[in-house]
């Protein structure tokens, strides 16, 4: 009798659980409508026009230009993309420089900060080597979109002389040398960040 009772309770529990798990079959959720934007010559808009592209070893920026003709529009678009790359490099370098100044305990040293600022600008100048236009798309209005890339290795390579210059400016202490090494690491890591 006791066994029968246990079996009955178990059956009720199982039925109860199965009641929780059975679901009414809902109608399939409507798929989001993806609006396909067609450009000139019926070519669909590529994803990189509205979404950032990122990889471990390359940095990408897009640019847009709409001028009197296609050739000038391409020029304008590539100029915009290269300028974005330069701005990104410049910002990245400044970010590292601030960290460095804090680490070295020289945050109040305005003269030192000015020196850093100068160096970071030089780096932005030197790092734009090997910029390649990876892709191009022309919208229905004749505006040109380009996707440009630069290898991160090129930026790091260009950063080396500037890092040496910083090291020379702060050779007085071991702490400064260590901070300099940290700055180099930080710069390399910063470039590798996938989120921008």
């Amino acid at each position: 009798m006791k066994k029968l009772l246990i079996m009955l309770v178990s059956a009720v529990v199982l039925f109860g659980l199965s009641g929780c798990t059975t679901t009414k079959k809902d109608a399939p959720a409507p798929k989001p409508v993806v609006k396909v934007v067609l450009g000139a010559d019926g070519i669909p808009q590529p994803e990189w026009v509205y979404k950032a592209v990122s990889t471990q070893d390359m940095h990408f920026e897009s640019g847009y230009g709409k001028m009197s003709d296609k050739q000038i529009s391409i020029k304008r678009a590539t100029v915009e993309a290269k300028n974005k790359i330069a701005a990104w490099v410049s910002t990245s370098v400044k970010e590292v420089v601030v960290t460095y100044v804090n680490d070295a305990g020289s945050g109040d040293n305005r003269q030192a900060m000015d020196a850093m600022e100068t160096i970071s600008q030089q780096v932005a100048e030197a790092t734009l080597s090997g910029v390649t236009t990876e892709s191009m798309w022309i919208d229905a209005d004749g505006g040109v979109w380009v996707l440009c890339s630069i290898p991160l290795a090129n930026i790091e390579k260009s950063f080396e002389p500037a890092a040496e210059a910083v090291a020379e400016a702060f050779v007085e202490s071991d702490a400064a040398a260590a901070a300099n090494a940290k700055m180099k690491d930080a710069f390399a890591n910063l470039l590798k960040k996938t989120d921008r």
Binding site: I72, K75, K82, A86, A124, L128, G130
Partner: protein, 253 residues
């Protein structure tokens, strides 16, 4: 330069064998361009044109120099470009572009040319086809494909070929055909520099004004330079609707 003249004089007697003789009537621009087509020839055959001059001898001389120059451009072509742009209340977009090549080797190149044909056209002047003996007889990099609705496909999208990069340039028609083509070829070279930049310096100054007269201004300066190797014009097209010349250029990667 005197030696170049001597070499040219030596080549002139060959004209009798190869010239088509007589000036054709003034034809369509595309007909003149067809004289420059060398797709069916190996890659060591070059074409040069002179533009109209007073005498046939002068035209052939200029065409041979043009032919030799295209060989020198292929060996090395240095380009630089500076641009200033302003957005905001005042708008500006100004570009200065330059190209450089080594002219020192011109005499030696002319010495190694073998004339294949010389023809004359009222717009192109003399058109010379010549084989360059220092280069092996290989196939062309980009044999122009079939036209799409009468237009070459590279007007719509850049060709893709392993080991090569392509640029497209255009120019409004100038009075002389050779000037139009030179401008169009130059634009194609600069397009290559825009698309594949060896070195660029870019600086922008953004200014935002708050208060009663809110405004945003941006001034951008960009300079770039590069050295093109293997530069060659692989195809041309004349667009009658817009009176525009187009050039497709390639370089080795």
């Amino acid at each position: 330069m005197a030696r170049i003249g001597i070499v040219l004089l030596m080549l002139l007697p060959l004209l009798g064998c190869s010239s088509t003789g007589g000036h054709p009537e003034r034809g369509e621009q595309s007909l003149s361009l067809s004289l420059l087509e060398i797709h069916t020839y190996p890659a060591n055959v070059y074409v040069g044109l002179s533009g109209p001059y007073a005498t046939e001898e002068h035209m052939v001389e200029r065409a041979i120099i043009s032919c030799a120059r295209s060989i020198l451009l292929e060996e090395a072509l240095a380009l630089d470009s500076t641009l200033v742009m302003q957005d905001g209340a005042a708008k500006a977009f100004a570009v200065k572009e330059m190209a450089y090549y080594d002219e020192e080797g011109l005499k030696g190149v002319i010495e190694d040319l073998t004339l294949l044909s010389v023809s004359f056209d009222s717009r192109a002047g003399a058109v010379v086809l010549a084989r360059y003996s220092r280069k092996p007889e290989t196939r062309r990099t980009y044999p122009a494909g079939p036209d799409f609705e009468g237009r070459p496909p590279w007007l719509t999208s850049y060709p893709s070929l392993d080991g090569y990069r392509f640029g497209v340039g255009s120019s409004k028609a100038y009075y002389f055909l050779n000037d139009s083509l030179e401008a169009s070829d130059f634009a194609a070279a600069q397009n290559l520099l825009d698309l594949y930049t060896e070195h660029a310096y870019s600086v922008a100054l953004d200014t935002t004004r708050d208060g009663s007269a809110k405004a945003m201004d941006r001034v951008l300066y960009q300079a770039q330079r590069g050295l093109l190797v293997g530069f060659a014009i692989v195809d041309r097209y004349y667009e009658p609707e817009t009176d525009t010349y187009w050039s497709l250029a390639s370089i080795t990667e």
